[in-house]
Symmetry: C2
Subunit: 139 residues, 2 copies
DNA sequence: ATACCTGCAAAGGTTTTGCACATAC
DNA sequence: GTATGTGCAAAACCTTTGCAGGTAT
């Protein structure tokens, strides 16, 4: 939350209730929600906020580096309030997306250098499988 | 090409000129084209083929495992005729997508097991950076 | 006071769908 | 001959945009 205030002040962006709400929601959630999901979740508390505003707030937050955009290949984007570089895993059965903690792939950028003539800057690693619940249901 | 014939026969799918053209194009290309790109590329030789048919052909090819779908986070899908599990890299400047060869991440599924309660099945690894051409242009 | 942001509605881009006709088997 | 696939147009999604009015600084 302090990050938000500082960075917005520094970049001369306005700290509106809508932007705060979106950021707060992302910081408190581990669900990697889509814009639509965020919009619906904030609806009760911010009934007048529009979906377009959610999209605009997300774009701004991504631009200033407070939030990261994920694309697990569903045809839409998801957002993550945790900006440190960590892999994600999606359940092929129920679609939920979880963080994988304790494993950092930043060093991969270095290991991959010898296999490409690109200047490697970042990476995204996605795993796919079956979550605990869906595994149990199958039994 | 033999794969295509065999698998389609086995799954009782029809081997139409359109499906063959899409598959052949993907096998011959290293560009990881989108549906639109494939459609335009095949236009001269198949002027009556519709974009919807390209989409349907791609869906079928992905379903039977002859082609893989990529999502580098552009808001659309790209397709790859090379189905073995390899990482991709996209240029943040010009948007091109290249294969990274000589590096296989299948063993990552095993190494990641201790960090998640999912049953890990597959993964997708994307790198982002600057390609040779764009690096040189900047100088 | 004013530059920036919101909310609405409309537009833009990608992918899917329904249906009549065509074609691979 | 029949089930499946194609081509067209329309629809369904997700995301962006333009603009008038509102608000944080």
């Amino acid at each position: 939350m302090n990050n938000l205030t500082e960075i917005f002040k520094e970049k001369k962006l306005k700290l509106t209730p809508q932007r705060i709400a979106v950021y707060k929601y992302l910081k408190s959630s581990k669900e990697h929600p889509s814009a639509e999901t965020i919009y619906k979740a904030l609806q009760p508390e911010y009934p007048t906020m529009s979906l377009a505003t959610v999209y605009k707030a997300l774009k701004t937050l991504v631009e200033v580096g407070l939030v990261q955009e994920l694309n697990v290949g569903e045809g839409n984007f998801r957002y993550d309030g945790n900006i440190c570089n960590h892999p994600h895993i999606q359940c092929l059965s129920c679609g939920r997306v979880d963080d994988i903690e304790g494993f950092c792939f930043t060093d991969l950028n270095t290991s991959i250098k010898q296999y490409t003539d690109y200047e490697v800057l970042t990476n995204q690693v996605y795993f796919y499988g079956l979550c605990k619940d869906c595994k149990n249901k199958k039994k």
